[in-house]
Symmetry: C2
Subunit: 337 residues, 2 copies
């Protein structure tokens, strides 16, 4: 039913080998024959069968990304921007993008990675939300499966990656709210073993120290990177005896939850309470009030991760394998403008 190279070959009275080579742009074919083949293929509406090609070439022209989220219904705009970047660049590079979601660290996650890697569903993978120690990195290295990541784990000392200097971003953020007159600065973070939690908490502490502010563990709360988590944590923080006048969050999603809580409580965000996030997602610009944040170019990072991955897959190690980006402080009304 479907058109194969065999059909084209028959029409043109050529061998399937010749047709195949003509279509793939091999040099050892006469210009005239190639033209005839290409034209006929177009006419007949030929589309190569991917399964066959994959089976033969042992590659899939597909890259994968497994979104590390707890709940299936979770939609952080960080991820949508990230996935947009992946999708756009994958399409530029003529790769397909396979996407799934799995709660990090669970068996289900391991199963998917195993299926994708060992079942040859992808030629390479994009990782993010890295843990300090991350089994995915070990696994992929052991399977010789190419991957690139945003941030990195301790295992991946030489893996191609993009890093954002979260620490110094957070130092800047602390300085900024200090300058605006806020003194009791709280922090809502994420899971302890997450790389960015490590880096950003560190930046928070370094910032305090630099300004001569005391670190108070009562002002540090563990969120879960969701807006619900931010909402809950902030309600708790606000109700302690000597409550904070500023809340810095590990990511924008958390900060958006804080805004919700503060608005509910009738606090004047930017005056009574400063709130800031980290990521620079689009939503943050249109929140109420607009959110101060440390911007990392999520979309562009995603695109570059794909480019690096494709280089890895093709074995052309031309680009630098480790890119470090400085984040950029975006001051908006949530910290007084």
């Amino acid at each position: 039913m479907t058109i194969t190279i065999r059909d084209i070959a028959r029409q043109l009275d050529l061998s399937i080998g010749a047709v195949s080579r003509a279509l793939d742009g091999y040099p050892d074919i006469s210009v005239e024959t190639r033209q005839r083949v290409v034209e006929m293929a177009r006419q007949m509406g030929y589309v190569p069968n991917r399964a066959a090609r994959q089976l033969r070439k042992q590659k899939t022209d597909t890259i994968g990304y497994i979104m590390p989220v707890e709940s299936p219904r979770f939609a952080d705009s960080f991820f949508s921007e990230f996935i947009e970047g992946l999708g756009d660049e994958a399409s530029v590079q003529k790769y397909d993008l396979l996407i799934s979601t799995a709660p990090p660290g669970q068996d289900q996650e391991k199963l998917i990675y195993q299926q994708w890697v060992q079942g040859h569903k992808v030629d390479g993978l994009i990782l993010d939300r890295m843990f300090m120690s991350d089994w995915r990195v070990q696994f992929l290295i052991s399977q010789k499966m190419p991957f690139t990541s945003l941030e990195t784990s301790d295992e991946g000392s030489d893996t191609p990656r993009i890093e954002v200097d979260s620490r110094s971003g957070f130092v800047e953020l602390v300085e900024h709210v200090f300058e605006r007159g806020f003194r009791r600065v709280a922090y809502i973070g994420g899971p302890e073993t997450l790389r960015i939690q490590h880096d950003r908490l560190r930046g928070y502490r370094d910032g305090l120290q630099k300004l001569g502010l005391l670190f108070d563990s009562a002002l540090v709360s563990a969120g879960d990177m969701t807006s619900a988590g931010g909402y809950n944590s902030s309600k708790r923080l606000i109700s302690i005896p000597d409550p904070p006048d500023a809340i810095l969050c590990i990511n924008d999603e958390t900060a958006l939850g804080v805004l919700r809580a503060a608005n509910e409580l009738g606090m004047r965000v930017g005056k009574d309470l400063a709130v800031a996030g980290f990521d620079g997602v689009r939503d943050a610009k249109y929140s109420n009030p607009p959110l101060t944040t440390v911007d990392q170019p999520v979309y562009d990072i995603a695109r570059q991760l794909v480019r690096m991955l494709v280089d890895e897959i093709r074995g052309t190690h031309l680009l630098e394998r480790r890119v470090v980006l400085p984040p950029r402080l975006l001051i908006r009304e949530s910290t007084g403008g």
Copy 2:
């Protein structure tokens, strides 16, 4: 390098045929052999090669969705919720989800559909943002490629689909703002040939008529379903001689843009100006102020579309092929609460 059924067969001194059948759960194999095979497969970490299976079985166990968006960077939360639903249900049904984006109606879109369908990349497709007359429907029918859609085109008289009664949803919406005292009710829509534009505009007009309000074409504006479009359209509407005191939008994304414009202009949304959307995306709940909207369960619709599609693919036409859902008015502060 990778483990194939051949390796298992060798280990167990069986034929590859026997191994294949044992693994696939065929009945004509002894219980004992099956156990040995399954156990050995587990031990050796066998994962079936999908390309080979696809090539042989002529199916991909993959469903596709091509997001109909103009700009690559466009991210409407309607789509993220929709895609979440698709992804979750696909995973339940043991299907992969292949995603791409393409501007509707352009050659690029046709190319992707052609590649996916004729290159056997997917077993079925999910469609949305249907046009009154939609080439995709014609194409897929002609190719005998299963698909399900949210809303439908004129061509798909008997295709499996979910429909939401937009018209009556909009009538309700008009009644609601009327009740709140708003009298000059505007509408910001989308591309003219879009099914939902047709239905929702119709509901808007029917609502006006029911209440004895005059239809005024100066109050109808064509947006593009984006928040930027809503922003621009509303600025224009607000500046006309006899401006509206209520703006109803074809979707939430548009309405969020209207909110932004109104906030910028210092209007008190819910008092000076009523604003409402359609979709019930999560973001609408947390906008400033929270947005009145006509809710359609986007996530659940997506899941059900996948279930229906899988039924189509498997040829088990058990379910009803046409599901009509009533939308639900969610009243929030943007129309006075």
